[in-house]
């Protein structure tokens, strides 16, 4: 076996020598690089430059005026808080539910295939249309959710889910959890499947029960997969846009308005491009900081 490995490794070295061709390499990568530069890199740099151009005063060409104005903009501060609240409550809920589904799908049982397809659908459907479906289900007068809760005896009268203050945010969090727990589950399942089965067998022989081996084997070995899926989901949650746009329209009284939704409005409804650009840059920095925290924690646990 080591012989074969060695042979493969040599082949690989030969291969790289034979094919190392920087010009061809660049030629093949250039189309992708061009489109990524045009669509992602240039616009972000441009947004940064816009954000440094004053929206209202004309005293100077460059200034931090837009950023100072953000600090006085109560609506922006509220949208910032809403985004953080939304993220910090949905991500743990999704992780917990995702973990349960992943552990379930890692077991052998009949109909496992059906469960796996079922969880794929909420993820695969457009968030905008998911939000529209749920808006009807959350409807106060005719909604199935009020009907279900009243029938079960959990509430006495119809709740105005999308029009009352904490309820609208709770509704938005529930739809997000419904939609993305499955994605979390799939990523975690892929991580679970890399854990060798004999680890559990030897733990069982040493007298560890199910919970003990879950806590001491599964969780530590699954940590990298957990952090990667948390990273991906946190970035998504911090830029949530179509969910409030279609479910609550940011209401009631802007309590579900996120940074993305408010900056969209400033950009395209109030047509204040420079001021709006300073908001998207703040959001960009927020996402950057969160990603760096996660990436650093991955490095720390790397063995």
């Amino acid at each position: 076996m080591p012989r074969l490995e060695e042979r493969r490794f040599r082949l690989q070295l030969d291969y790289i020598k034979l094919h190392r061709n920087t010009q061809i390499g660049y030629l093949f990568v250039i189309p992708s690089l061009l489109v990524v530069t045009f669509v992602l890199v240039y616009p972000v740099i441009q947004a940064f430059l816009y954000s440094l151009t004053p929206e209202y005063s004309e005293d100077s060409e460059w200034s931090l005026e837009n950023y100072f104005n953000l600090l006085d903009d109560d609506r922006f501060i509220e949208s910032f808080n809403n985004t953080l609240i939304f993220t910090f409550f949905t991500i743990p809920a999704e992780l917990l539910i995702g973990l349960v589904i992943a552990v379930l799908l890692n077991k052998e049982f009949k109909f496992r295939g059906i469960v796996r397809v079922a969880i794929l659908f909420p993820w695969a459907l457009p968030t905008a249309l998911n939000a529209i479906m749920w808006r009807w289900m959350f409807n106060t007068e005719f909604g199935i959710i009020n009907y279900g809760l009243i029938s079960a005896g959990l509430i006495e009268s119809k709740l105005n889910w999308l029009g009352k203050e904490p309820l609208a945010m709770i509704a938005m969090m529930s739809v997000s959890t419904w939609k993305t727990s499955s994605f979390m589950a799939l990523l975690l399942l892929a991580g679970l499947q890399t854990i060798p089965k004999d680890l559990y067998e030897s733990a069982e022989m040493d007298g560890a029960n199910g919970f003990k081996s879950f806590w001491h084997i599964t969780i530590p070995l699954l940590t990298p997969a957990i952090i990667v899926s948390l990273l991906l989901r946190t970035m998504d949650a911090l830029r949530v846009f179509e969910l409030p746009f279609n479910l609550t329209d940011g209401g009631p009284l802007n309590t579900t308005e996120t940074i993305s939704l408010y900056s969209y409005r400033v950009l395209f409804e109030f047509v204040e491009f420079k001021y709006g650009s300073s908001m998207v840059i703040i959001q960009f920095i927020l996402i950057l900081i969160m990603s760096l925290i996660y990436i650093k924690s991955i490095k720390n646990i790397d063995y």
Partner: protein, 276 residues
């Protein structure tokens, strides 16, 4: 023995809950689309369409052809985006994994970094550029934007598939006098078909579902994509749930079919990158 039975019961109980919760909103949407308006606006709600009717669907085909137009727009954009990404991204993934030229690792990392850019951050500049180029409300603008938005993810997934192709095959082709492009076209593309297929499906779904850029770049009523068109529909007229639920269901049918048939490939593609 008793604990085994308890575990079994727990597994099936959880399975039923997960399947029900996942499917319920979709089934509810379908039922609503089969009900006449007077059955939709009712308390207590009608749980089943009785009798079901396809009138809402017929009405849409007759009175609101723009809703079908939205679905057509989405299909065109997602299809062109997918083909462009597979071609450009395939070439790039092959070069990055197999040619290993100077700077390939840096490019790979850079691609990962830019894929974290929030999509709202690119809105102002990209809108202004396309406006200058006079491409707002035309298919190319959104196809280009979606290509840039999703190509980095596609390159990562494709790279993982191309890595598994044995070097020996390429070497043999090289001996036979095949150039780098010939190797890509005759060897890599055919051999990574499953990977390309999985990547294509995921890109198609992402492009079909994308919202903020579609909203801004294609805002003319004729040009809207399905998610945007349906989400703006209630705002402009009254709030006809029977029409909206029907249009929504019609426009998720392609995604339902793709996901249902190709779930294995989609899951494989989605999870191939996360363990590397």
């Amino acid at each position: 023995m008793q604990s085994k039975i308890r575990t079994k019961f727990l597994i099936y109980f959880l399975s039923v809950v997960v399947v029900l919760v996942s499917f319920f909103p979709i089934i509810w949407l379908f039922f609503t689309s089969l009900m006449p308006a007077k059955d939709i606006y009712a308390w207590p709600p009608n749980l089943f369409p009785s009798p079901g009717t396809f009138n809402n669907y017929i009405k849409i085909f007759n009175n609101s052809p723009e809703l079908l137009r939205y679905i057509l727009n989405s299909t065109i954009i997602a299809a062109f985006t997918t083909v462009t990404i597979i071609l450009f991204g395939g070439l790039a993934a092959y070069a990055l994994v197999r040619i290993k030229f100077r700077g390939s690792f840096a490019i790979m990392l850079g691609m990962l970094a830019v894929s974290m850019f929030p999509n709202i951050a690119i809105l102002p500049a990209i809108f202004i550029v396309f406006k200058k180029l006079n491409l707002i409300n035309s298919y190319p603008s959104l196809i280009i934007a979606h290509t840039g938005l999703f190509i980095t993810m596609a390159i990562w997934i494709l790279a993982n598939y191309i890595r598994t192709i044995p070097f020996e095959i390429e070497d043999a082709a090289k001996m036979d006098g095949c150039g780098p492009f010939g190797i890509f076209w005759r060897i890599i593309l055919p051999l990574s078909k499953p990977g390309i297929f999985a990547t294509g499906l995921i890109v198609f779904i992402f492009s079909w579902n994308e919202f903020p850029l579609s909203l801004v770049l294609l805002h003319d009523n004729d040009m809207r994509t399905a998610p945007v068109g349906i989400s703006l529909y209630p705002g402009e007229y009254s709030f006809p749930w029977e029409t909206i639920s029907t249009a929504t269901f019609l426009s998720i049918i392609p995604v339902l079919i793709i996901t249902g048939i190709f779930q294995k490939q989609i899951i494989g593609g989605l999870t191939s990158g996360s363990n590397k």
